[in-house]
Symmetry: C2
Subunit: 719 residues, 2 copies
């Protein structure tokens, strides 16, 4: 059936690429309501939604008892409908799901939305039932949304398979798609957007994600014409590689993804476990993924909606230096503080701009950025239309935010409050630069307010100052990511045959992969150690070589700065002796002899780990206390480029130490970053059994970088 009329699912701009297989579901033209009954608020709401949204297709109530349901004759089964149906909404109890599925198959329905709960979210028993459900769906090639979900609304095509009442009236032309693992939260996001006068293109509740998950929906939405911004509520990620890939495609397509991801706290993780039986992954890794693939992570419903709305309206912002305008000095000051807190530059005005503004402002006004047009605008709203273009003409200003509330009532809109908005809109048009009006205080937009916004065409957020500037800050961050682009895809490194278990082997392996590594010799006698040290032509470091000793210093297994034959020979014996005394059972391979490095430098920590959701990731930090006591690291998924490692350096709290300190020269960041990227590639080449690889330290100096120590740990081979 999928094949027979696939053409019908191809919308205008949709081309080629085989995607998520969700077109038929999201653009269904006929829907069976399985378990329809007037006694259920879900069934009643779902049925009413088809009329409320003007669904252009056919709806079939299905009830075992037959009879009239929701004013229509109910079919006793899907098979009894007697014509092809695109999708079914299953509202039957958990115990009746298997039978309902058999009926779907009999009717040839290939898309199912399952409202029913009692699956993975309730524990082990439910998880088994969910497995069975998925198996049934897969057997017949059914696309399954849920279980334990509220469904979806495709506002663009007016397809609402949704089991509660959406906010009404539907706002046309919505550009934001909201996808949520929590059904109630999808509703809250849609409700808040509506209250703010912001329309949606989609709202999707993915529930337990037995089959369709957020990643697949995002993958679909990247190609969807109506959608300009994608908003996510995530408890976990069920297909991390697909989400990362979809996010990369979204960035390339210019569609921002704005995401709430819970689980920053241990308590939220506990709640999520109860909520949908989700595994809440390592929060810091998710943060790193967001940075890496260009997902804007936000803290709550309001921030998501305002950020998405701003991006849907403005798109990428090229020149991100902000001009701030208000009728109140206090507002100017609060906005300036919030701009800085959100990383947005508020430049000073050039003298010609100030002159031009002096000609426009009242005598007691001061031409600055932020610009207080003064309370004079209360008497003369055209002050905005006159001063905005003069202000925005400043070459240092790339975009403008002006603070004014859209009023609530038709009376206010007809009066001077409406006139203020009209004058600001006129001023905006005259600037030729991206402009947005933000409310002074967070407040909804009324129906009358929406009409004024439509009339003036003004870009407006009823966000208030903190959320408005947060949205601007995030829009700027996304625009910068978009300009920079994602690093080019690099081919995965050729797999390594080696499985380097010892420090010596690990260093040798890294060297073979191009990582700069300190020259090390394994000596199995004092004589060999002396010979190796002599070849160095300077003081030596001796370290015990044993697969059983991880913390060499703790057992007296390290000696620094040994000069001369006697010192090296005695050092060899001392290390062997000390180690055997402390750890008599340890296997000893010998002693490593390396040159003593005394050039001033910074010790970096480089660690590769395997995240259970996202796979191999790399952490970089300053060595010593910074990593061990302060946990100051930057993280990325592998592979990383040198450029990405330079960004990681900049994220470190102690980054300033890399630039030199107290007469110590700064390090060669480029060389160090290249070495880190190279370590990442070497780790990837070791394949999925590598549990972790640590280079500690990677010694960075003004002229280069060098791995001084390395440790690789492998998981037991998989069966």
């Amino acid at each position: 059936m999928e094949g027979t009329d696939a053409g019908r699912n191809c919308r205008g701009g949709r081309q080629g690429r085989a995607v998520s297989g969700l077109e038929r579901l999201f653009r269904a033209r006929s829907v069976a309501l399985v378990g329809a009954t007037e006694r259920s608020i879900w069934s009643t709401a779902a049925f009413a939604n088809f009329a409320r949204l003007g669904f252009p297709g056919r709806v079939f109530p299905v009830s075992r008892k037959g009879g009239m349901v929701h004013g229509l004759p109910a079919a006793a089964s899907c098979a009894a409908i007697g014509e092809p149906v695109d999708a079914a909404l299953l509202m039957v109890p958990e115990g009746a799901i298997a039978e309902a599925f058999a009926d779907l198959n009999a009717a040839g329905i290939r898309n199912a939305v399952v409202l029913t709960s009692g699956f993975a979210e309730i524990g082990v028993e439910g998880a088994a039932k969910q497995e069975a459900l998925l198996a049934a769906a897969r057997a017949e090639g059914v696309t399954l949304l849920g279980p334990n979900c509220l469904g979806f609304i495709n506002y663009a095509d007016r397809v609402p398979i949704w089991t509660t009442q959406p906010p009404l009236p539907v706002l046309r032309g919505g550009r934001i798609a909201v996808v949520s693992q929590s059904g109630a939260t999808a509703g809250f996001l849609a409700g808040f957007a509506h209250r703010q006068g912001i329309g949606l293109s989609y709202q999707v509740s993915t529930g337990n994600e037995a089959d369709v998950n957020v990643a697949r929906v995002v993958d679909f939405l990247v190609e969807d014409e109506a959608t300009r911004v994608i908003g996510l509520f995530l408890e976990t990620v069920h297909d991390a590689p697909l989400l990362a890939e979809a996010a990369r495609r979204a960035l390339a397509a210019g569609k921002p993804i704005v995401a709430i991801k819970i689980g920053a706290s241990e308590t939220a993780a506990r709640a999520a476990e109860a909520h949908t039986g989700s595994l809440v992954g390592n929060d810091r890794v998710f943060d790193a993924v967001c940075r890496q693939v260009g997902i804007l992570r936000v803290q709550g419903i309001e921030e998501l909606v305002f950020t998405a709305a701003l991006l849907a309206r403005l798109g990428p912002v090229r020149d991100r230096r902000l001009g701030l305008v208000s009728i109140s000095g206090g507002v100017c000051e609060m906005a300036a503080d919030q701009a800085e807190a959100n990383g947005v530059a508020v430049p000073r005005l050039a003298e010609p701009t100030r002159d031009a503004l002096r000609a426009v402002l009242p005598a007691f006004g001061t031409p600055n950025n932020p610009l207080d047009v003064t309370g004079g605008a209360m008497l003369d709203p055209a002050l905005f239309a006159r001063s905005l273009p003069a202000f925005a003409a400043d070459p240092a200003i790339g975009m403008v935010a002006c603070f004014m509330d859209v009023p609530d009532t038709p009376e206010e809109i007809a009066g001077y409050r409406g006139e203020l908005v009209r004058q600001i809109a006129a001023g905006f048009r005259a600037t030729g630069k991206p402009c947005v009006m933000l409310s002074v205080m967070s407040r909804p937009v009324t129906e009358a307010g929406r009409a004024l916004i439509e009339e003036t065409g003004i870009a407006y957020l009823g966000s208030g100052i903190p959320w408005g500037l947060a949205a601007i800050g995030r829009a700027c961050a996304w625009s910068a990511w978009r300009e920079r682009g994602l690093p080019p895809r690099v081919a995965p490194p050729a797999p390594a045959a080696a499985r380097p278990g010892s420090e010596h082997a690990a260093l040798a392996y890294l060297a073979s992969r191009g990582v700069p590594v300190v020259p090390v010799t394994l000596a199995q006698s004092a004589e060999a150690a002396v010979a190796a040290a002599a070849a160095l032509g300077g003081p030596a470091v001796l370290k015990i070589a044993s697969p059983d000793i991880a913390h060499k210093s703790d057992v007296g297994g390290v000696l620094l700065n040994l000069a001369g034959e006697a010192a090296v020979a005695a050092g060899f014996d001392r290390i062997i002796g000390a180690t055997q005394a402390v750890k008599p059972q340890a296997r000893i391979d010998g002693v490593l002899v390396a040159p003593m490095r005394s050039e001033p430098g910074v010790e970096l920590f480089v660690g590769v780990l395997r995240d259970p959701l996202w796979g191999p990731a790399i952490a970089v930090g300053l060595g010593g206390i910074w990593v061990e006591a302060l946990r100051d690291t930057a993280i990325r998924l592998l592979p990383v480029t040198q450029a990405q490692v330079l960004e990681m350096f900049a994220e470190l709290r102690g980054a300033t130490l890399l630039d030199g300190y107290r007469g110590m020269p700064g390090i060669d960041r480029d060389a160090a970053a290249a070495a880190v990227a190279c370590i990442g590639d070497a780790a990837l080449a070791l394949g999925p059994t590598l549990a972790s690889l640590e280079v500690n330290p990677l010694r960075a100096t003004a002229t280069g970088a060098e791995a001084l120590d390395a440790l690789a740990i492998f998981a037991e081979e998989e069966a």
Copy 2:
């Protein structure tokens, strides 16, 4: 006149203490409107406000031209009113201010609110005019609010000397006083509170603060019966000591102060300069002051209003472990993350609580904190009334936040949405613990919503999750401050006669004040150095002693770890020689001889500085890179107690290093804190000419602390 009927200004609970002298102004019973004219929106609004608020006194329009104004016969002057008047609102142009003031004096009016602008906010010329205005006011003992202010409203006594329209209808029983240097912002704060269904006791616009400033108004409000919480918008602080003192009294009286203070960014400082000609002080010092005197610093209008409203309702919270309840798992998770982000603990439930909840929740529910009562509550709202007491009975839970929106319309309130709120209110009452209902999304409260809130008596914030949890976090912080109390007032240390200019003198002075100091001998010959070193009984440190050399190491003026006579004698000569070679002009007092300290320890930086607004303050940090490269310090005003210094230690980013690291033992925090407090006292005793005093390092070990170096710098004596 002040004396004749002062009794009238004494309200019920007001006792004794001579305060700010603002009673007559804020409780005026007769007001002259000087410059009244129907052509001014200010005059029209001000006049209308008396009727809108039900002002119980008399209003007299004053206009040079006489005639009828605002429907009343206007007096040609205040003197012509012919009876005593408590206060005058001056709305005349700047050029007519002097004449108006002469008239006030002639009429014996002792309180003036000056709307007129064109004073300090426009620059030097205006500042001179403001000085003249203040001089005129002081000459006749007039209390002056403004200039460049919008006035004030005393809602409790219905006294509105306010020049724009306040939000209507007035909400009775307001407990929050708002005081703002920006008039428009005072209006925004009042407007936002009103929209959220939150009433005020006062709103005061202080404008340029020629006479009355925020500190004086706070001082007044601490004694005001109607006011339970004080909200501030500050651009600067004109009487820092009074504000600090008033804040201490407010904390003692259990009245929280919640403050927005702009100037965190350089740009805001620029804007404020234009706005009211204010000096925006060092933001980090203000932060420290807030912590020290118990002021809650918030980021914007919304956060101020919600925090103040929560505190006005709940008062101090004793047990601050939070239980979270919602109808949605997604909301539970977001709330838990925000709780953690705001430092609020969300404890696990005890097993008996879980059992009790299992008996109440639907089968598919999970008894946890956060508690998802499940969507079952949509069908059965009484689920809240049943589960809330069972949940809150847990001994680990001290307070409860439940997420649900108060609906907007009478129809919703009559329906199940209203019923949900009623059931939650019933559940709250049954808990016997502090409970608050927070909206899921930020939204206003309608008139119908206010009626439901009144009917149910529920504590409610339409804040949404992020602001709601921020408000809870701040209420908890304030409650903790209040419990801990302020450190006892210590008598200022006895003034020191000394003015220790050299390192040697500074160390000796600190020692004389009880600071543990390394023993140091000033040697003026190699022989004297050898003798001094010999007396130490161990290796010595030699340092050049010169009033002209601040950075001793840079000129070769420090030698460490010298053992034996020969080394010390040679060291003396080497230091003198090196210093003379590099700085031939430097005066040299000799060489300081001190013992070499080798016990493991941490070097602390202790610096005393003089803030232009707040006076002497102390900064503490970890030495070396932490202070020099990372600016990681904690700040307090002096004097500080040992307990306060312990708090400062805890604020440091590198605090964990004080507890030991890599086998190094932790320091004796108590001993180090005592030494820091003692250094602070010693600095205070040096009086106002001390510009700065640095102890760098204060060496802290597992057993004590010791100042190794000290430098005092004095300002030129004042004339």
